[in-house]
Structures are given as C-alpha cells and as structure tokens.
Symmetry: C2
Subunit: 303 residues, 2 copies
C-alpha cells in the first residue's frame, strides 16, 4: 500500500492567503524552518496505478500537478484517480470536486449527510452520470475494487461551517454521527487510519486504533486556545471540531499508550508552532513518537 | 494602472488534470515550447496597494502565493485584495471565493444573476457580513474607491454549465444579458477591457472597444471545432459560450480593424495550438497583432 500526502495543512493552507502570524511570515519569506503546505488530502493505492483520494481540497489541481503518480497516462483523456472519499463536508474536503469537472469518470463516496452537500448547486457541474455519488454506511467495509477496503466510522465533530446556525447556542459540538468520519484502510493484514477531523479521542476510538500500522490524525492546533491567543480567531480547536496536540486532553496524551506503527499528524493549522522546524513544540511532538506530515510525504507498507 | 495576469488558461487550466492532448502532453513534460497556466484571472490596481480581482478561479490560493503584490503586509491578518468582480457564474470565475473564507473583509460585485449563485449553499462559508455581495447594473460605472472605475456590460454568452437544462434544446446560446459580462476599467483618460467569455463580436462591442488602450479578450479555442476534432469534447466554442480566434467569424477577423493599443488573448483552452510557442497558430496570432497571455504577465499604463 502507498499513502501519498497531497496536502498536509488545515483549511487555508500554509501560508494562508491573508495571514501574517509568526509561522505564516516565515512561510511567506521561504524561511528554511518552514515548508509551504496545501490543504490536507491523502491519496491511497495498492497497485500504484489506481488511486483513491481521501478528501478533495480547493488545492487539488496544484496537488495533482505536483504528484506524478496522479498524472494522466492515456491520450486523449485519462486519470489514475478512480474515486474520492469525502470524510466530511468541510470546504477543505469537498471544494476540490469542482476541479474534477471535465467529463472524467470516477466515484464519489461519502455519508448521505455529506453527499447532500455535493449533489446540487455548483456541484451539479460534476456530472452525476460520470461521477456517481455513492452513499456509504458507517462501520461497513467498502471495496473500491483496487486491492484495499475503506471502512468509515464516526468520530466526534460538527457540521460544516457553512451549515452552522446563526445562533451559536444552537450548534452541537463533539457530535458523533454521519457528519465527521474517520477511515480505516485495510490491505492484506495491515491497517491504516485517516482521521483529519476529530474533536475528541474517545475510548472507542482508542480501542479501534490499537495495533494499527499507520495513523494520520488531526493535528490542527498545538494548544487548544492558540488561535485566540494569537488574535487570529475567537475559536478554540474544540469549537472548530478539531483537537489540540498538547495538554491533558490533547491527542498526544490521549493516544500515548495506544500502540501504532507510525503516528503522523496531518491537517495542521498555519498557527501551529509545531510546523516550524527547531521549535520546542516540534521537539515535543517528535519526542512523543509523532511526525509532522509534509506535502509529498509518501509512506507505505508491503502486503 | 497595473494589470497582473494571475491566470491565463480556460477552465481546467494547462495542463488539465485529466488531459493528454498534444498540448497538455508537452506541458506535463515541461517542454520549453509550453508554459503551465492556471485559470484566467486578472488583478487590477491603480496604486499597487489595493487590488481588485476580476474573477476568482479554483486556482486562487496558488495564484496569490505566486503574486507578491497580493501577499498580506500587516500582522496578524491582512490582504491587499479589496474586492472581487465576478464577470459570470462559471466555476472558473466563482470557485475561488471558497478560498477566501478566513474572515477577511472584501467586497464581491456581480450581476444579480451571478450573485445568486454565490450567496448560499457552500458559499455561505464566505460570511456576508464581512464580504458583502453588491449587485451592479449594466453600463453603470462602479467606483470601488481605489482610483479606477469598473463598468460592466453585457456580451453574448450563456448560463453557467451547472445551470444548463437536461434537454439541450432548451438552452439559449449567444444571449446578451446579465449572465456574461465584459468589464471596462477606466483610469484617468485611459481604458482597458477584460472580456474572458464572449460568444460573438457584435457591432456594438466593436464600437465600444474602438480606441481602447488595452484589451484582454476570450481566446478559448483557435478553431471553432478543435475540441471535437481532437476527440476531447462534443462541443464547439460557440456551444461553450466562447469564441475561436481563427476563421471568418473568429475574434482575429472580427476585431482586425478595431484600433486597440494592445490586444491580448486570455482564457486560453488547453486544446488551443496557439499555446505552443513556434506553432503556425501562434505565428498567425502574433502576425495579427495579438499576444498570448501567460501567468505572471504584467501590463499597465501611466495615468
């Protein structure tokens, strides 16, 4: 199995178009301590010929240009991308479908709740006859036909930002249901997980991940309130439907005693100081046995 | 006035993610006869500090990264982009708004018909309180407040692809109305035009353009039926709401005796052989006094 990180940043990417936080300043200046990152997407393949994207970000066109395994190989039209699984309905998971509007057959999988967001309006440009929307059921393995299965499961999250009610007191946080999915990728006897959005690590999630070979997990912020303290946003990680790495309820602590072959943070916000090589926060992450994904990172395991 | 070409290709860009037509093959191979191009967008500024985008393509995040004048200059959050004018509702004109969802104030201008497409659904992510949608009237100059005016006018076109009726016989082509706009940019005594979509050059359009200093015009295809002949699509340029450069009804002939300071083709489809340096089609375009825009091209005139 091959796992190719097309993008590793949270919504907005790194640097973000309108941000001059300390991290983004380094990225704009191309300081060697930082690497630019596009929005989080993982491409998976068992045979190197047929690929499934987990998420479709607004950066997808550039991500494909930067990823030779995803280039077309047969004239006049072709793509190794055989399908897209949408873990949730956030803009940074669905807007890339608008890039895939050129009469190319592929499959779009997601929960009924997420598919509802990509089935009309501007998304009608992605012709349903060529790119059917196929609803998946929680905890049921899906076989796309390329040598691996995908099993979606609910993780704590929230509805997409564009669906939030005007009155914030009516918004439910940390909900487990169809809106926010993790994915198990299974090939032969090995298991990988892609969980780019997760508001809390539950006992059930810890049990599920135990013994996995590879985990890509929500690394949005380092501290729960870092965006507030930096004057970037009034929202905590929890309020955004995501998790901090650090702190007693952070992902590092919550997953410390879960045995996983490789733990990789993905969906990393531009405000997260662990993005910066040489920072104490990066050292803390690495000392805890995690690595920070970067665009172009390829991981895998033999069957 | 400064005119910065953020993107010069038609929808899909160059190369297109799923295309191996002869042009795209050269672009994938980074053959020196071709330059990669993102989707058509023009940034305009009088003072170099405040910029208005004409269109917002799916490539906008990368286009901003590649354009230093558009980088933020004030911590923690800032953008020199003060507004976006949407000439039409095509995906390659509106999807970039989804990139601008990070609580940054700017104005969105367009016809009521186009604004209707970007006011709800996923576009609710661009908060109306920070990014108000402001309807413009045809043939009335708009003053964004930065030293130039924008005057929208109707050109022959069609509704966006995602709004087309299932029965093609019900689709009207070459319609002049709110759906497809050209823009006059006026500063001091000088006039520029941005017309990325235009299905036909009418006598009224010829009269309007006479004496302009600068023209960016729809250069989608070279031949009316080139996509059909290449096996890429069953559609003519006219069917797509665009024009061919060549032929008795093409833009080169239609605008040959209209006096314009600089004539520049933009919104060039990946199938267009004039994209390829050294091609007979490129020679024909240049011999006719036109140039082919490329990403990063900056043109201007002093006040």
């Amino acid at each position: 199995m091959r796992f190719l990180v097309l993008g590793s940043a949270a919504g907005g990417g790194f640097p973000q178009w309108n941000c001059l936080c300390p991290n983004c300043r380094l990225a704009w200046e191309r300081d060697p301590r930082t690497e630019r990152r596009s929005q989080a997407c993982l491409a998976v393949s068992e045979d190197g010929e047929n690929w499934v994207l987990l998420g479709a970000t607004p950066d997808l066109r550039q991500q494909i240009l930067d990823a030779p395994p995803l280039h077309p190989r047969i004239a006049p039209r072709h793509s190794p991308i055989r399908g897209v699984f949408l873990p949730n309905g956030d803009i940074d998971n669905i807007a890339g479908l608008l890039v895939m509007r050129e009469m190319q057959p592929f499959t779009i999988w997601g929960s009924p709740a997420t598919l509802a967001h990509v089935s009309d309006g501007v998304f009608a440009v992605v012709d349903e006859k060529l790119a059917p929307r196929v609803a998946v059921a929680l905890d049921e393995p899906l076989d796309p036909g390329f040598g691996f299965t995908l099993t979606p499961f609910a993780v704590p999250g929230k509805i997409p930002l564009y669906m939030e009610p005007p009155d914030e007191s009516e918004l439910s946080l940390g909900v487990e249901g169809e809106t926010t999915l993790g994915l198990e990728i299974r090939s032969g006897g090995q298991r990988a997980y892609f969980i780019p959005s997760c508001a809390r690590v539950t006992p059930a999630l810890r049990a599920r991940l135990e013994g996995a070979d590879l985990l890509f997990f929500d690394g949005t912020t380092f501290e729960e309130d870092e965006m507030i303290r930096a004057g970037l946003s009034p929202k905590t990680a929890w309020r955004m439907g995501h998790m901090a790495m650090n702190g007693p309820r952070g992902s590092i602590a919550a997953l410390a005693d879960v045995s996983v072959g490789q733990k990789v943070f993905i969906h990393i916000n531009n405000s997260n100081p662990a993005l910066c090589k040489g920072s104490p926060e990066r050292a803390r992450v690495e000392a805890a046995g995690w690595r920070i994904a970067h665009d172009g990172l390829e991981l895998g395991f033999a069957k």
